[in-house]
């Protein structure tokens, strides 16, 4: 323990006649140093625990070229999500209509509601068809099709929404030309309207 002590001095060393040395206290107040120490500790505690990233498992379906063997997706349960540039999202249920009437756009915040609503609808349908209560959403399939100007973050966010809403079946597939056209048209009309 560090400590400097200049006490009164034991008499006997100095002879008589010597002036007594002025009493100076060299005791340093350590309180600020303790504060600093604990601050640094807190900093290191927090940075140490936040450094482990986590992993998200992704399993892709096999590339099946044979159309007969491709998994059939029930139209009633299919929800297709398309991601475009600047964090824009478009979606449609079932098959895309030729005139694009069921082609809608939304944002990431509202996407969760869209997914939840679709899930509810599918479960309702499942109930009416007499499915077992634990597999009411078994017809629900989400097809994710990112456009070439969507970012990686968009893709991971949508995949994350799958986990958050507990969607069991989803697939990451290529976008079709028809869908690309639909997006391009929507972007153009959106730009004109502004």
């Amino acid at each position: 323990m560090a400590s400097i002590d200049t006490g009164g001095g034991d008499s006997g060393h100095k002879g008589r006649g010597v002036k007594k040395a002025k009493k100076l206290s060299t005791r340093i107040d350590m309180t600020p140093m303790v504060d600093l120490g604990f601050l640094l500790i807190t900093f290191f505690i927090f940075t140490a625990t936040m450094s482990t990233p986590n992993t998200m498992r992704l399993i892709m379906p096999k590339d099946e070229k044979d159309p007969e063997k491709q998994t059939e997706v029930k139209q009633s349960g299919a929800l297709t999500i398309l991601m475009g540039r600047n964090n824009e999202i478009y979606y449609y249920e079932g098959q895309m209509e030729a005139d694009g009437s069921n082609f809608k756009s939304t944002t990431y915040k509202e996407l969760r509601e869209v997914i939840q609503k679709k899930r509810k609808d599918v479960m309702q349908l499942g109930r009416s068809l007499g499915y077992h209560k634990d597999s009411l959403d078994r017809d629900m399939v989400v097809v994710i099709k990112p456009n070439s100007d969507a970012t990686y973050k968009n893709t991971v966010d949508v995949l994350d929404e799958m986990t958050i809403n507990n969607i069991q079946r989803f697939a990451l597939v290529d976008i079709t030309d028809q869908e690309k056209q639909a997006i391009a048209l929507t972007e153009q009309s959106g730009a004109k309207a502004q």
């Binding site: 290191f44 482990t52 990233p53 992993t55 992704l58 995949l159 994350d160």
Partner: protein, 224 residues
């Protein structure tokens, strides 16, 4: 009789032991935190609610940064497995006729992170290993016309056949989707369908399905 004079006691506590303890704990934390390995690319990963943590197993990591450059690195936990790294680069050399020398292949074993097209690989490897990070690499091409990552992964899958290895993908937020697609296509061409995406942790939004599931019991979760 005068009352007994109470001996004056000082109320100032000596702070020195506090400082000693504080610095001791601080030293422990400084030494206990593992430093991130220096990487030539800065990547901000997107967030996800996934609960499985990064495992320390052997892995082949494919990284791509915001400009879309793809880097491949092999991380093996045991030093004895360095032979496998040598094996992998040798296979690649033979199959793609890269013309690498023995010395250059040994360098790959020391620093297993590369991000160059085949044409520039020889140039990169002829430099000393510690200079590799400073060299501006162009990334492994993953476009559909010339997907070199397929060859890399081919060499990797053949080398690590008996050896369980994870495939990890670490991508930057702003990387465009075609890069990611190129990586997935390269993996698909090698019959790899299961991989892990590295993300930052994020709290589960309350009121959602996942929140309910996690609250009711972590046992039933089908993650890992």
């Amino acid at each position: 009789m005068p009352s007994v004079k109470m001996p004056k006691k000082s109320t100032d506590t000596d702070m020195t032991p506090f400082v000693d303890v504080a610095f001791l704990i601080l030293t422990f934390f400084i030494l206990a935190t593992k430093f991130k390995p220096p990487e030539p690319v800065s990547i901000t990963t997107p967030k996800s609610v996934s609960s499985s943590k990064l495992s320390e197993k052997d892995a082949v990591m494919i990284q791509f940064d915001s400009t879309g450059k793809v880097y491949l690195s092999v991380n093996l936990t045991k030093k004895e497995d360095d032979e496998l790294k040598k094996d992998m680069i040798k296979r690649l050399n033979d199959q793609s006729k890269l013309g690498l020398t023995e010395d250059q292949m040994n360098k790959f074993v020391i620093n297993s992170m590369v991000g160059s097209p085949f044409s520039q690989l020889k140039g990169l490897m002829s430099r000393p290993v510690n200079e590799w990070e400073k060299v501006p690499q162009q990334g492994i091409p993953v476009d559909s016309a010339n997907n070199e990552l397929t060859r890399w992964m081919n060499a990797a899958t053949q080398t690590f056949q008996g050896h369980p290895i994870d495939i990890m993908i670490k991508g930057d937020n702003n990387a465009k989707f075609p890069q990611f697609k190129g990586v997935i296509d390269a993996l698909r061409a090698n019959d790899i369908f299961k991989y892990k995406l590295i993300t930052d942790p994020r709290g589960v939004p309350p009121g959602t399905e996942l929140y309910r599931i996690r609250e009711s019991g972590a046992n039933n979760e089908t993650d890992d």
